[in-house]
C-alpha cells in the first residue's frame, strides 16, 4: 500500500506515480520489478469507421445513369451540338468531389484536393470543345486552377501542421486572398497581351498587408492575443 507524499491519498498498486501530482511512488517495502495487475485495460479502443456504402452506390448510379443517358441522347437524338459534354463533366466532377467524403475515406486531404484540381481542370478543358478557341483555357483557366489548388494545399498544410485558431486561420486566408488576387490580375493582363502590372489587386494587396501586419502583431503579443480571443470568441 503506497501513499502520495504530496496529496496524502492512497494509490492503487498498479500506479507508479500519483495521478494527481505526478510524484513518483517510492515505497522501499514494495518490489518495483514485480508486475502489478492493472486496474484499467492497456488496450486502447478505436471507433468503427462508418462506411456510407449505400449512399456511395446510390450516388454513383444516379451520376453514372445521368451521364450515360445524356450521352446516348446526344449521340442518337439531339445531335445538333455536343451539349451533353458539360453535363457528363459535371457528373464526373461531383463524383470525384464525393470520393473523400463518402466513397474512399482513407484518401488523404492533400490527394483529395489534388484530384479535385485535376478534375476541375479536365472539366474546363472539356468545355473548350464547345468554344471556338482554347486559348482561354491555356492562358487563364489552367494557371488559375493550378494556383487555387496550390494555395488550398498550402492552407491545408498550415492548418494541419501548425496551431489552428481563429487568428491564425484568418492570417492564412488573408495572405492567400492577396496572392490569388495578384495572380488573377497578372493572368488577365497576360491573356489580354498587356504589360504585366498591378492595379485593383494592389488595393487588395495593401488592405491584406495591413490586416496581416495587425494579425502578426496580435499573434506575437500573448496578452493582446488572449484579449482578442476573449472578445471575439464564438
Amino acid at each position: 500500500m503506497s501513499y502520495c507524499v504530496n496529496c496524502g491519498v492512497e494509490l492503487s498498486a498498479d500506479l507508479s506515480a500519483c495521478p494527481l501530482c505526478n510524484t513518483p511512488v517510492n515505497n522501499p517495502n514494495l518490489n518495483s520489478d514485480e508486475e502489478k495487475p492493472s486496474v484499467f485495460p492497456e488496450h486502447k479502443g478505436q471507433v468503427d469507421v462508418v462506411k456510407h456504402r449505400d449512399l456511395a452506390v446510390f450516388l454513383s448510379i444516379v451520376l453514372g445513369s445521368t451521364a450515360i443517358t445524356c450521352a446516348l441522347l446526344n449521340l442518337l437524338i439531339f445531335q445538333s451540338s455536343l451539349w451533353s459534354l458539360p453535363i457528363i463533366g459535371i457528373c464526373v466532377l461531383l463524383w470525384v468531389l464525393a470520393i473523400p467524403a463518402i466513397i474512399y475515406t482513407k484518401l488523404t486531404l492533400y490527394w483529395s484536393l489534388f484530384f479535385d484540381g485535376i478534375v476541375v481542370a479536365a472539366y474546363l478543358f472539356m468545355l473548350t470543345w464547345l468554344t471556338t478557341s482554347d486559348t482561354w483555357f491555356l492562358s487563364i483557366a489552367l494557371p488559375l486552377v493550378i494556383l487555387i489548388t496550390l494555395l488550398l494545399e498550402i492552407i491545408l498544410f498550415l492548418l494541419l501542421h501548425f496551431s489552428i485558431s481563429f487568428l491564425t486561420t484568418s492570417l492564412y486566408l488573408v495572405i492567400d486572398i492577396a496572392i490569388l488576387c495578384i495572380g488573377i490580375e497578372l493572368l488577365v493582363d497576360a491573356n489580354a497581351k498587356r504589360p504585366l502590372s498591378l492595379s485593383w489587386s494592389a488595393i487588395v494587396l495593401t488592405v491584406c498587408t495591413i490586416i496581416t501586419v495587425a494579425l502578426v502583431t496580435v499573434l506575437s503579443r500573448s496578452r493582446l492575443r488572449n484579449e482578442v480571443r476573449r472578445r471575439l470568441h464564438f
Partner: protein, 437 residues
C-alpha cells in the same frame, strides 16, 4: 395513460419518439464527441465472457428502448427497433466513452465491456439517463449471476426479464409533468471555464477516488450538510482555487451542472431520460468565500431549487420549445444547426464542470454478496473540462472524474481537500505517469 403512450403502443412499437432531453444529445454528435455515459459494476469474481453474452441476449429483450437504432425523420429523429445481431460483449478498453457513431456497432447505441471482475455498460444518453441505464446494468448483472447458478430475485433496479415491458417504461415523462402555468427564466451568465491542454482524439482520463461512506457522512455532518452538498461544495472550492491560481483579467462565477433525478419528485417508471439540471454556483466577485460559507450557500441553494414546484417549472420551460408548432415544423437540419450553436455558445458556457450523484445504490439482498462496488462516468465532456460522478454501494463511495484535458489540478485540489478533512481516499487511474502534469 396519456396520449403519447397510447400512440406509441398502437404503433406496435415499430418506432419510438425521442424524449425531450434525448432530442438534444444527437445534435451534439461530432466525430470526436458523443453523449455517452458509462456505468460499471465490480463483482467479486472474474467475468466469464460467454456467460455474459448469454445474459446480454436475455436482458436486452426486456429493454426494447435500449435495443434500438437512431433514425432521421424530416423534422425529428426517432428510434427504430434494432433486430441486427448484437450487442456483443467486448473486452474493455483504456479509453471508455468513445464516440458512438450511429451507424457503427450494428447501429446499437449501447456497448457492453468486461475486464477482470468488471462489467461496464456504455449507453448513448439519448436512450435514457443513469437510472434507466442502472436498471439495464443491474438486470444484466442479475441474469449473469443466475446463469452462473446463483439464486437472484427481482427488485429495486432489477426487473423481471420474463415480464413484458411496461408501457410506462417507454413514456416521455417530461411531457406528462410539464404543466406549470409559468415558465421560469433561465440564468444564463457565462461561468468560469477550465482552460487546459486538450488531449488527443479518443483519450478520456479517469481518476477514481474510493472512500468510506461513513467517513464522508461524518465529515459532511460536521459541516451540517448532506454528502451531496458537501461534495458539491468541495468541487466548487477546488474550481474557485483553480480560478484564483490562474491569470485572469476578470473573475467569473464558478458553476456546476448537476442533474437531478426527477423520479424522486414525479412518480414515473420511465427508463428513458427524466432529469433536470440545476446549477449550484459561487460568485467570487462578491468576495472571498470560506469553505464553510460555500457549504451554507450550496445547502440553501439545493433546498430552494430541488423541490417539486421549481422542477415542474423547469420541465415546462424545456417542453415549451418542443410544443411550439412553429418549431415543430422546422426541418431537422435547421433544428440541428440552431440547437448545436445554442449549446456550444450558451449552454456549454453555463457551467464550469459537471457533477452527478446517483446516491446510495439500492441492490437486492441476493446480489449484495457478489458485488464489490459501482463506478459511474459522465463521459467525454463537450468542451475541455472535467466531469465528476458519484455513487455509493454499502460503505464504499466512489468519485469518478472523467476529463479530456491533460492537467489534473481540479482533481488534485478536490481530493486534497477531502484528505485535509480527514477522509481516507484511495486513487485509481488510467493515466500514464508521464502523461499528466
Amino acid at each position: 395513460m396519456n396520449k403519447n403512450n397510447k400512440s406509441q403502443i398502437t404503433e406496435k412499437n415499430d418506432w419510438y419518439k425521442l424524449d425531450l432531453s434525448a432530442i438534444v444529445y444527437p445534435t451534439l454528435q461530432r466525430k470526436d464527441f458523443s453523449s455517452v455515459y458509462r456505468l460499471s459494476v465490480l463483482l467479486k469474481e472474474m467475468i466469464q465472457p460467454e456467460i455474459l453474452q448469454q445474459a446480454v441476449d436475455i436482458t436486452m429483450k426486456r429493454f426494447p428502448t435500449y435495443k434500438v437504432s437512431m433514425r432521421k425523420g424530416l423534422f425529428w429523429r426517432y428510434f427504430e427497433p434494432n433486430h441486427r445481431p448484437g450487442p456483443f460483449v467486448m473486452e474493455d478498453i483504456q479509453n471508455p466513452c468513445m464516440p458512438m457513431p450511429f451507424k457503427s456497432n450494428n447501429r446499437y447505441l449501447v456497448r457492453i465491456y468486461y475486464y477482470q471482475n468488471r462489467i461496464s455498460l456504455e449507453a448513448h444518453h439519448s436512450l435514457g439517463d443513469g437510472s434507466g441505464g442502472m436498471c439495464v446494468l443491474q438486470t444484466l448483472c442479475a441474469v449473469y449471476l443466475r446463469l452462473l447458478g446463483h439464486k437472484i430475485g427481482n427488485g429495486y433496479f432489477v426487473l423481471d426479464v420474463d415480464d413484458a415491458p411496461d408501457p410506462e417504461e417507454f413514456e416521455d415523462a417530461y411531457m406528462k409533468y410539464a404543466n406549470a402555468l409559468v415558465r421560469p427564466p433561465r440564468p444564463g451568465e457565462t461561468a468560469y471555464r477550465i482552460r487546459g491542454t486538450k488531449e488527443p482524439f479518443y483519450t478520456l482520463n479517469i481518476i477514481n477516488g474510493i472512500m468510506s461512506v461513513k467517513e464522508v457522512y461524518e465529515v459532511a455532518g460536521r459541516y451540517h450538510a448532506t454528502i451531496t452538498e458537501y461534495l458539491n461544495s468541495v468541487l466548487l472550492y477546488a474550481l474557485l482555487q483553480k480560478q484564483n491560481n490562474e491569470f485572469h483579467l476578470k473573475l467569473r462565477p464558478v458553476k456546476l451542472a448537476m442533474p437531478v433525478n426527477l423520479r424522486r419528485f414525479f412518480p414515473s417508471k420511465t427508463l428513458r431520460n427524466f432529469i433536470s439540471m440545476i446549477y449550484p454556483s459561487i460568485d467570487p466577485r462578491l468576495g472571498v468565500y470560506t469553505f464553510e460559507e460555500i457549504i451554507t450557500h450550496v445547502n440553501h441553494y439545493m433546498r430552494f431549487f430541488i423541490n417539486e414546484k421549481f422542477l415542474r417549472g423547469d420541465i415546462t420551460t424545456n417542453a415549451a420549445t418542443q410544443r411550439n408548432p412553429l418549431i415543430r415544423v422546422v426541418p431537422l437540419f435547421v433544428k440541428d444547426f440552431v440547437v448545436k450553436s445554442f449549446y456550444s455558445r450558451i449552454q456549454d458556457h453555463n457551467s464550469s464542470a459537471g457533477l452527478t450523484n446517483m446516491g446510495a445504490l439500492k441492490v437486492i439482498d441476493d446480489m449484495k454478496p457478489f458485488i464489490e462496488r459501482f463506478d459511474i462516468y459522465m463521459g467525454q465532456p463537450f468542451s475541455s473540462r472535467t466531469n465528476c460522478a458519484i455513487a455509493s454501494f454499502e460503505d464504499i463511495l466512489t468519485i469518478n472524474f472523467a476529463s479530456s484535458i491533460v492537467e489534473t489540478e481540479v482533481e488534485r485540489l478536490f481530493f486534497r481537500k477531502l484528505v485535509q478533512d480527514g477522509i481516507h481516499v484511495k486513487i485509481e487511474s488510467n493515466r500514464k505517469s508521464e502523461q499528466f502534469l
